[in-house]
Symmetry: D2
Subunit: 301 residues, 4 copies
């Protein structure tokens, strides 16, 4: 099939990715830290830059960077959802050609170090591999103004050494996998939750609470498959937090294979595993409230 129609610019967007910002709050001797990676994306009336090389409506990505740093000072950087709402709102409100702005933030956690059993006032170590995330979209001005907030986490690596099985599955001519009723289950979770609204939300509290529900459910739910575990995790989070409309979970099945030690006259009853890199199963689930408001552009990158 050959096409002959005119060639046109359709979707386009641009921004500044991976602004690494550290914010220290030092009003008292006990400092606080927020360590983030911020990316901004603008949509709007920028076609002339693409089609004609005319930058008159293009706010430089360098300016977006400066603004991201300035907003870390004022209004300031506390909960990343609030920061992202303020920054995205600024681009839409104050920069004429911008019709919508998306701000994505990764936050790295730090833990205060302990000295003589007491928390130190200005020293921390990086905590865990997990990263808290936010993705905020603001579109329209005045009465048309709308906003969407997605919270989340990624790279939470979690493992259980029993309480997981995988059996009674569909077989075809390429199926050689043996069913198992006791296996190790490990994954590195990437989860995002969409809030029903954008105001009066205790962002940090919801983050901590959802994380706790996810982890507890993974631990205590007897798993017949990673699919089931993910669904139960999502359900537990939504049940606990009615401010959430939807939760999306992506989980690689980080395979741990029982190592064959029988060849050497050794028993291996779930004791020695080979932790494989690739390939890995990859399971996705979306769990949603039936009365969730429309997602609109919330999931658009």
């Amino acid at each position: 099939m050959e096409l002959t129609g005119p060639i046109e610019l359709t979707d386009h967007r641009y921004g500044k990715a991976e602004n690494r910002i550290v914010r220290i709050w030092r009003q008292t001797a006990r400092h606080e830290i927020r360590d983030v990676n911020v990316s901004t994306v603008l949509r709007g009336d920028f076609a002339d830059a693409y089609v004609a090389g005319d930058q008159r409506k293009v706010l430089p990505t360098d300016t977006q960077k400066q603004t991201a740093y300035a907003y870390a000072k004022q209004p300031g950087l506390q909960a990343i959802e609030d920061y992202a709402l303020a920054l995205a709102g600024h681009f839409v409100d104050d920069v004429e050609p911008v019709t919508s702005a998306r701000v994505e933030v990764d936050e790295y956690a730090w833990q205060r170090v302990s000295v003589d059993g007491r928390e130190h006032e200005h020293t921390w170590v990086r905590q865990g591999s997990e990263v808290r995330t936010a993705a905020v979209t603001v579109a329209g001005t005045g009465a048309e103004r709308q906003a969407w907030v997605i919270g989340g986490m990624k790279d939470l690596t979690i493992l259980k050494s029993t309480g997981s099985e995988f059996a009674d599955f569909l077989s075809d001519e390429f199926t050689v996998l043996a069913p198992t009723h006791d296996r190790m289950l490990a994954t590195s979770l990437a989860v995002q939750w969409r809030f029903a609204g954008t105001t009066d939300i205790a962002w940090d509290e919801v983050y901590a609470g959802v994380r706790a529900r996810l982890v507890e459910t993974f631990a205590t739910h007897h798993s017949k498959a990673l699919q089931q575990t993910l669904f139960e995790m999502g359900k537990a989070a939504l049940t606990a937090y009615p401010v959430l409309a939807e939760i999306r979970l992506a989980a690689p099945n980080k395979h741990h294979f029982d190592y064959d030690l029988g060849r050497f006259g050794l028993e291996n009853n779930g004791e020695v595993y080979y932790a494989a890199d690739r390939p890995y199963g990859l399971i996705h689930a979306t769990v949603q409230r039936a009365d969730a408001p429309e997602a609109g552009p919330a999931w658009l990158p």
Copy 2:
């Protein structure tokens, strides 16, 4: 806003990611190599696995892996678009609960080594950092059967030391960037092109041709902004290949800053640069034929 509706599973999918397959064709003394990374994703009637832990309709991800390797032998692995069409078609046709399948392939290029000025028959070195990609979706059976093919490339790092400017842009109170009429322009391209059809296409030829058009346009087009360069590159590719419906380009602006050597009494006329890692501008463009067929699920991950 608090929600009270029932909690439901909505979108879900699963598959096996990153099957690393190398295929050698050795009918003659002159061997051929294809080196790929294959990921499969199935959509269909799998809700019971999530909601009830019932695997009776679930084809294991291990089986998907076995099939990916078996299909590399037969029908075989030549152009990755053909291989992905065959593999995705198999899942939809032969596995009852599957309603649609997506197969994504990354291909790593190898270059024959030269011995005494002649190409060696069975030895290669990895060529470049760029990766060829394909993403194929097959849905429906019988008369409902449809397929979509996206070709592409990523990690093509390209740089020009002149012929690029960025000036006359929008300014606000956070704008401190100086306009420039001669700068280095460097990026690492990720490009995907959607084919209008799925049959009678010389996949390898289109790949080589699109790559050549992209590179030539980047080199010869005087750039007023990376946005403009991307649009021209996309337009050149679509113009040359009427079998393409749409092309999507994503390009980080890999900033190279003139190093301030004036402090040391040295002139620096575009000679010494600091190559920065982060942050970076990130520009997206979609260029499309007006008579392109609907994309359907082609871009769904």
Copy 3:
């Protein structure tokens, strides 16, 4: 200068790198986990394999892998120093051509998850980015038998938001850095400590104790330079643990630059930083007891 002498094989060694082993101890309902990455290296009478292609004295790297897994079962994998001593000892004692063996182990820490305020019996999350390390060398048999043990850690990322300065340094014509009396100090520590002996040592306890001393000293010592901080950290560790002969510290200075917000009418008193990737300062220090025994091949890779 042109050389004419005969061409000879001199140093050579070989092994199996990155065996990913997970060991679960499940004698009781409360499981224990050890998660490691093991590399083995053999030295010995292997010249014929290199020079003549004769493998008769070469124990395959595959066999080294099998042995690493088998030894995780029995004698078992608890403290990585003990495991490495046993495995290296086996190669030297039981494989004739081996004259010395080195086993290097990285250990990833896991933290039990908490459910209803109580530690779960068989579920963990990956803890921190830091990695515990061991490098053990065993050489000789019978009366000639010797062993060396190095413990350590890497990727411990630590940051203090005040209590660090850098001033009064040497200047030359390329020096433009401004002195500072209050800066952020951040690093990602790689530390290795050599034990004076190899027996009667509480490996896990020393690891925890050295880590605590390093962290406490980083936090509480007022730093005039990262060099000074490293020396004090090393001294604190050796002082606390007379079983240590020597400690080597390598620390990238992960620069955090005060962001210039004055351009936007905002004060920035150590509140908003740009966390840079590259380049970075890189500081090394070795701190040693004057009566330390000879290191021998302990540091040889």
Copy 4:
């Protein structure tokens, strides 16, 4: 064994790592590019900084960075060995407390793009994954002045689909590997060669020539083991270049396993492979001229 001796600073060094410098030569319309990553390390009279926090003899790592960029302009950055010799020489000659300096350089290769069959004057794409390296040490001043130059390459990924075997190896109770007389052999080479002298050497020519010898030998030599192949490669390089004193090769055996397709009724005669990530064999060889001058500190990091 417990030690009681005084605790002392022994070895120490510091520098600036990973200065990313791009140098464009633009005297004519046909530009030339050199793209490097430079690390500097100084040794000398710096104990006071560690022990007493006294920086008076410490040249800041920031100054080392400035100097690395300034030297890219003048004397200039052509062959990386020459650049490193000049930069290291400067630190030793011009900065009083420095007794020796080491400069390590990684160079990334770029290939001119082709437009209408002709090389473009100012546009390139990144070529291959391989990296050229240099490590230069300069020590002493005046009559004591000495220098050592090591050239090299890393990340050269090379594969042959036949012409390799591994059999007749040593067996013990953990040996389960089957011998093979036709296997795929793949590796990612890291090679360093030490020059006998430092003057009158055509650095770029030696680099290209050694690379060609290594690649040709890998291709044409029938391999009884990776050990043998490495030795032959090293010998070929030294034979061709009498200016070399020594060559060190490190090669991971990137295992490609024949995929078991017999389960599915398919033959697999070296056609379909699983390319494994970890673990991998890791083979080291040093090949040397018998009349090589002493290495001195050449290999010291």
